[in-house]
Symmetry: C2
């Protein structure tokens, strides 16, 4: 095993992570034939995080929101994809270490993003379901559908409650969108699929510690989102925290409890880590402090972009940018524009600082229901929902993914149906195959 990357005279830029930030950079560097680019990710695909909740709610296939990296860079001879995990960085020797061996770099761009944070709550970490990968979203889908099947054959009311009720922790877009999608599934789909169940027994709880949902959005949007959810029958608990969960009983800060086997944890994230990154650069939320050129303090050839990067931008963002896709995309693009300057290529001048252009934010709750904050104004309802659909459709990578997702959305809208209610657990090679091994 080895990296098997050709040695050339070109500067080698190694990008770790093919999320929004890493991919935004790699796509632009693919046009720079004077550079050698190595893109490292543990998956062979890019995943579109904003739609994980639709995978979990059986509305979309994992494949519809995932895009093979090799397909994306088929025409880019200067980009080398390597599917592996970076275990260690040596910023002095300028090397990354992986299972494939070591690789020297001229510039290392860390775009490793963030993962679920359980904030030290051990029982929660053990029992709650995270939502930060398509694999985790599929896990939630399987749990949800399996529990409904179990509920059909469970006579004991309290036990059945645990299978039906669902507690979603986190009032950001993921929590809000999950709660809305689940409420619509309860309203339109489950009564037809499960006539044997009394769906009034299925309660959906959304718990968030701030006083409002979608904190960071406008007060009007926060209120509209809460109204939409409550109209759909979701129990919204603002200013509340979940303090414990043993797998069957959820404990709240005020001492109340909810019987539920499913807690979805979308309440916080923490930066991913790689051993060897300068520890003095680590700041709150496990982010890596960078300057306005995305350089990690003290290094010219070590950069961080996206959710993992913490950049104070003067008076505009004195406490860093929000960890959202827009910042990641813009930092990737900005770094691509600065790359010659940062690599001090012949004829290059000085790099220019990053400035975040906030284009607004949005969240969808359900059919014809979304909230949108533009820099100039806020609105919600049917038009906001259309805007949400169009923006997400265009942001998806790949023409075929766009077509398939669009068709799925039209289908769901017209039929009031989420079609993919399949509990598909992939085959694993069993230790004993004797059952399938009859001599005859």
């Amino acid at each position: 095993m080895g990296f098997n990357i050709p040695q050339t005279d070109k500067k080698r830029v190694v990008i770790v992570g093919a999320g929004f930030a890493g991919l935004s950079l790699a796509k632009r560097l693919a046009k720079r034939s004077d550079l050698q680019v190595v893109l490292i990710d543990k998956n062979n695909y890019h995943q579109f995080q904003p739609l994980f909740y639709q995978v979990a709610m059986a509305g979309l296939d994992p494949a519809s929101i995932s895009f093979p990296l090799r397909k994306l860079f088929q025409r880019a001879k200067n980009v080398h994809i390597r599917v592996t995990e970076v275990k260690r960085v040596d910023p002095v020797a300028k090397e990354v270490e992986t299972d494939l061996g070591s690789l020297r770099y001229d510039m290392l761009v860390v775009a490793i993003g963030a993962d679920t944070n359980f904030f030290g709550n051990e029982t929660m970490a053990r029992n709650a379901i995270p939502m930060k990968s398509v694999g985790e979203a599929l896990f939630l889908r399987n749990e949800l559908l399996s529990d409904l099947e179990k509920a059909v054959t469970t006579a004991d009311y309290a036990v059945r409650q645990g299978m039906l009720d669902m507690v979603i922790v986190g009032g950001g877009p993921t929590g809000v969108e999950l709660a809305g999608a689940l409420a619509e599934m309860k309203k339109y789909v489950l009564p037809k699929d499960y006539p044997e169940l009394d769906l009034k027994e299925l309660d959906i709880h959304l718990v968030t510690s701030p006083d409002v949902l979608l904190k960071g959005m406008s007060a009007a949007s926060s209120k509209a989102a809460q109204d939409f959810l409550e109209d759909l029958g979701v129990n919204v608990h603002t200013g509340m925290r979940v303090t414990g969960f043993d797998g069957t009983l959820v404990e709240m800060k005020d001492g109340s409890t909810i019987q539920s086997s499913k807690v979805i944890w979308a309440a916080g994230i923490t930066g991913n880590t790689i051993e060897g990154l300068p520890e003095d650069a680590l700041v709150r939320g496990n982010r890596i402090a960078v300057d306005r050129m995305n350089r990690v303090n003290g290094f010219d050839d070590l950069l961080a972009i996206g959710d993992i990067a913490y950049m104070e931008e003067g008076d505009a963002f004195p406490e860093g940018h929000p960890q959202v896709a827009q910042v990641a995309l813009q930092q990737g693009r900005h770094l691509a524009e600065n790359i010659s300057e940062l690599l001090r290529l012949d004829g290059a001048g000085e790099p220019f600082p990053f400035t975040y252009k906030d284009k607004g934010s949005m969240a969808t709750i359900g059919r014809n229901k979304a909230v949108v904050d533009l820099p100039s104004r806020s609105f919600n309802g049917f038009f906001a929902w259309l805007v949400w659909l169009v923006v997400h459709l265009f942001a998806l990578i790949g023409v075929k993914n766009k077509i398939i997702v669009f068709l799925n959305w039209c289908w769901s809208y017209l039929t009031y149906d989420q079609h993919l209610r399949l509990i598909i657990r992939p085959y694993r090679k069993p230790d004993d195959e004797s059952a399938r091994n009859t001599k005859e």
Copy 2:
């Protein structure tokens, strides 16, 4: 836990297995409001076996060829779906036993189909990849793509050979279709995705013990299929058997060996079993002998249909029917037509015997290449390929599946691409979540 099926005056028909046979019967009994139908399957969906190979070859999503059972029976109040495995049958007490408890029946229809058979070869059972479920097809897809990634970074020729070469055992439709699809992927897709690999190193072997491929089809079709595959560069070994496979080296009957880490086993099937079924009814291939009314010998209320059933049909099929979808579909329909007679409902006469109408058989090899045997004539090439497409599209369950599969096929045909090259391994709750649990 319990079955939770209402007690009524209606006769209760319990169907075990929602494959072609069980579903064909259940769909028709759904219209019989005078019967109570319980459909038991270990999955909550029906899977369309003829297209497993396209899932394995990254052409289709598992969800496109799977259909949720509850969706299918939404309007049928007399059909109860239960997702569980039948562990034991008691034909005297007329009960089935499952994890949900016991259920009494008035008629039990066993439609449990067949699974891969390794014919007593222990190392093969341990190391080869079966192809009898969407889960197994996904497993093969992941193995294939992972091995290609590994080959990119493997300098040692012999080791790389093992990752690239692929041995398919079984010359029936599954083996032929897999070999063809893989050869086309090698020709059209992999050179673009893996410019760093020398794809001449990737050899595809198809091994079968009869003297011809597609034994049972016409001589013309067998020959055409072999010509098509050899034109695509597949090494077809007829009259040959694989005798051993330790995970890296494949041994053949004639003493020759092939270096390969992937052996796909599509060489034989054996009937699934349930404890308690009358042992004297078990015949060759683990099938259950039935009379022309699909009754298991000696029982009026225990029936078997589909691949699991062994019925001798006079001079036409003195050694039983072939284990194919057509027989399963027709036996399901025939039993539905006979149900009143077999249950001796008021006014019913005598049941009539099953007669198989062979509508022909077909296999596809690749773009514009298929072979079709009708009762009257055989043909192959572009028109045969069109016939194959139309027949399979119409046989798929669900309008949306038809649309999605049709679009996927158009897309693949026009772009020479198989789009779903994603190694998605679903999340499993790890024992230790401490990595994602930072107190801050």
